[in-house]
């Protein structure tokens, strides 16, 4: 395994290098082959690792020492356990399918090679993040995915909206990076080590629930919140939809945004030791889930709805890991990767069919024209809404069950999660009914055509996953890391399951009523609760708030610095130093008279001085030094 792990990392890196350096001159086929193939091979390697991990093997291998000074030793080590194995399987597996899809989706784009280079860079960084065995490389991978996200959101850089969105994402990500780095500082300061094994074994030296460990966990949470677009650092995610749809699928649905969840799961020993921080994680997750779901009910851009849905589902995952149900959180991560990627790719097909129009009000009645997309999207919607037998049902249920079976605030978060599940079903089916339509028309007048197989086959595969993934025994797989989940009685189990099905059904019916059967009712309702609707439609005006509080003052400060500080202070200082030398040189020039006599005079003066000093120090003068 110690060669497989770096192989998984190096394959996408190689793909990146090839496409970055030679992509312009290689034929598109090769570029696509390299781009998708490297990830595919990495997937194969991941499966091989999986086999070994199931057999009980682990890996914590140092490959070389990256940085070594007196106190500070940072190796490059990779850490393979069930959690990271699950992550790399999802990243490379789903990633591979999305790469294949992209070969078709981006076929007409001029930046084809650049796209695949960036995508491979992303996969490499994400794998690095996940496989890293110490805080430093974690942060390096963290920054790498942030960079790739920026590059890919702003991929169509001639679009001003895309550029702004990319910048926004990067700035918010950086806030999270700062939190991460400070957390690493605190870890090193208090524990003197940075690799996972050492850190985890030394955690108990710190007081449980004390300030230090809580601070570390909260700072890590800042990083997680930024990366996973949870409240309050969430505003970048909807804007990130400016990027190409495969980017949204891979980065902003399946993998990068889940890095925060991975972080908490990986650091679970830390969070177990700082209950206050863990509760904060859960609250952030629960509130974000609800908050995002409410916004999702009012949006009209297909990708934005999916973005808010992602935000909401990640909220679920945060809730899970916050209350200690790490296995449930990771399980939901896996199922979510399947159905969210599926939903995005299918949406991509729809967008392509409508020539890049993303407004769902312009769509409808897609069954005849885009049959495969229609059915796969339906499967995804059913899965995310938590319909029985689909993957989402199992994973979401586990989270809700874990929350409701706990006491205190966690119970109420569970109630919130249940309500959110209903909202999820509602807005997803609202999307489905408005965009895809429910009428069983057999003809379609708009002459839409289904996407190419290279785009539909991955979608179908993902749809299969969205159904089947629920049956994978993830809990058993992760048990060595997280221990057993809390058991509930059979009665409670069935009762809760029934309750969540009921809630999902309610949402579905409401959506059916308002958007399929009687759209005029929807309009009536909207006018009745107009202020509320406006609030939700404008995303609770958070963006506007941030603009007022942070962005404008920031720009004002930058302007001030640029026009006043820069020319006067900094340039003044530099020029001042230079002018000092000029003046000094000018004065000293006068010494160089060229006249022998003045030179000689100075020399003799020196001799005089020397004699004087000798006399002084040998005590020959009546004057004594120092009295």
């Amino acid at each position: 395994m110690d060669t497989l792990a770096p192989l998984v990392l190096l394959l996408p890196l190689a793909g990146f290098l090839v496409n970055a350096l030679a992509g312009r001159v290689l034929p598109r086929r090769i570029v696509g082959l390299v781009g998708a193939g490297s990830v595919g091979l990495a997937f194969v390697a991941s499966v091989a690792i999986l086999v070994q991990v199931i057999g009980g093997h682990r890996l914590d291998q140092t490959y070389f020492t990256w940085w070594q000074t007196v106190d500070f030793n940072v190796p490059f080590n990779l850490y393979v356990d069930p959690v990271s194995t699950l992550m790399i399987l999802v990243i490379t597996g789903v990633g591979f399918l999305i790469h294949v899809y992209s070969i078709g989706y981006m076929a007409e784009d001029a930046g084809f090679a650049r796209f695949f280079a960036y995508m491979n860079l992303f996969v490499f960084s994400m794998l690095l993040l996940v496989l890293s065995g110490n805080f430093v490389w974690l942060i390096i991978g963290w920054a790498g995915v942030g960079l790739s996200s920026y590059l890919l959101i702003g991929f169509w850089y001639q679009r001003p909206t895309a550029v702004l969105a990319a910048r926004k994402a990067f700035v918010m990500n950086t806030i999270g990076d700062v939190g991460m780095v400070f957390a690493a500082f605190l870890v090193f300061l208090n524990l003197r080590v940075l690799d996972y094994n050492s850190v985890f074994s030394r955690i108990h030296q710190l007081p449980k629930g004390g300030t230090i460990i809580t601070a570390i966990c909260l700072l890590l949470l800042v990083g997680a919140v930024a990366k996973s677009a949870q409240l309050p650092l969430h505003t970048w995610l909807p804007d990130a939809m400016e990027g190409p749809t495969p980017v949204s699928a891979l980065i902003h649905a399946a993998t990068m945004v889940t890095a925060g969840v991975y972080l908490v799961a990986r650091m679970h020993q830390l969070y177990d030791w700082a209950p206050a921080a863990a509760t904060t994680v859960a609250i952030v997750g629960g509130v974000t889930a609800f908050f995002a779901a409410t916004i999702g009910t009012s949006q009209v851009d297909i990708k934005r709805i999916l973005a808010y849905s992602t935000m909401s589902q990640i909220g679920y995952m945060f809730l899970a890991v916050g209350i200690g149900a790490y296995t449930a959180g990771m399980f939901h991560f896996m199922t979510h990767a399947f159905f969210k990627a599926l939903l995005f790719l299918a949406a991509g097909n729809v967008i392509h069919a409508f020539h890049d129009d993303q407004d769902i009000r312009h769509m409808g009645n897609l069954r005849a024209g885009l049959p495969i997309t229609f059915w796969t999207f339906l499967i995804g919607t059913l899965s995310i809404s938590g319909f029985p037998l689909f993957a989402g049902f199992f994973s979401k249920d586990e989270i809700i069950r874990a929350a409701l079976s706990a006491a205190g605030s966690e119970f109420w978060l569970g109630v919130l999660a249940l309500i959110t599940a209903g909202l999820t079903a509602y807005y997803m089916f609202r999307l489905f009914f408005i965009a895809f339509g429910w009428e069983w028309l057999s003809r379609d007048e708009r002459h839409l055509h289904e996407a190419l197989p290279i785009q539909t086959i991955p979608v179908v595969i993902l749809a299969a996953g969205a159904v089947v993934a629920g049956y994978i025994p993830v809990a058993n797989f992760l048990q060595p890391v997280f221990g057993h989940a809390v058991e509930v009685g059979t009665g409670a189990f069935i009762g809760l399951a029934a309750l969540s099905v009921l809630v999902a059904l309610t949402g579905f019916l409401l959506a059916y009523l308002l958007h399929a059967r009687r759209p005029e009712l929807a309009l009536q309702w909207r006018t009745r609760i107009a202020p509320l609707h406006a609030l939700v439609e404008h995303k609770y005006y958070v963006d506007e708030l941030y603009d007022l509080v942070f962005v404008r003052p920031g720009f004002a400060l930058a302007r001030f610095l640029n026009t006043i500080v820069e020319p006067r202070v900094i340039d003044g200082l530099v020029n001042g130093v230079a002018s000092f030398f000029v003046v000094e040189a000018r004065e000293f020039r006068l010494l160089q008279t060229g006249r022998v006599r003045s030179y000689g005079f100075v020399m003799l003066l020196g001799a005089l001085g020397t004699v004087f000093l000798v006399v002084l120090f040998l005590g020959y003068l009546p004057v004594r030094l120092g009295g």
């Binding site: 003799l604 001799a607 005089l608 004699v611 004087f612 000798v614 006399v615 040998l618 020959y620 003068l621």
Partner: protein, 168 residues
């Protein structure tokens, strides 16, 4: 002995004043020759016979001759500096007085503090002054001697080159 020293010392001082004071360069040069000869006598008193000979032959006999030749050749006008009475001489006098006082303070009634060696006048006299110095030059001080010879070579070449150059 003391009387002899006093006479020679007086001679030295007078001729030195002459070196720095005369208006016409030829008188300066001749004063310097006289000064050097007085110095040679002092060397004799200090039991440095070899140095006495070297001083007379090389310094007074060759270097100063060169000086006199040049003065005769160039026939320079009398020095202008003495026209400006006051000015520079005052400064020079001030400097000189300070310097001399300091040196006097340093040297008055002090003995030499070096470590005494083994070459007493009797010991030297046993072997012979020139022989002793010769031995010393070519054994202990061989390197400086060689370097000095190179220096002389360089000076000769330099002088020839300088003399050859056409002045624009």
């Amino acid at each position: 002995m003391v009387v002899g020293f006093a006479i020679v010392a007086a001679w030295e001082l007078v001729t030195a004043a002459g070196v720095i004071g005369f208006r016409r360069p030829i008188y300066n040069a001749l004063s310097l020759v006289a000064n050097m000869l007085g110095l040679a006598v002092l060397f004799l008193m200090l039991n440095a016979q070899f140095l006495f000979a070297a001083q007379v032959i090389v310094y007074a006999g060759a270097v100063m001759v060169l000086f006199v030749f040049i003065i005769a050749l160039l026939n320079p006008v009398s020095d202008l500096s003495l026209g400006r009475r006051g000015g520079e001489w005052v400064w020079g006098a001030v400097f000189g007085v300070i310097f001399a006082v300091l040196l006097a303070a340093l040297l008055y009634n002090r003995g030499l503090t070096g470590k005494p060696g083994t070459f007493t006048p009797e010991a030297i006299g046993a072997v012979g002054n020139v022989q002793t110095i010769g031995i010393a030059l070519y054994t202990r001080f061989l390197f400086p001697v060689e370097v000095t010879s190179v220096l002389l070579l360089v000076a000769a070449v330099g002088a020839v080159y300088l003399a050859m150059r056409r002045i624009r």
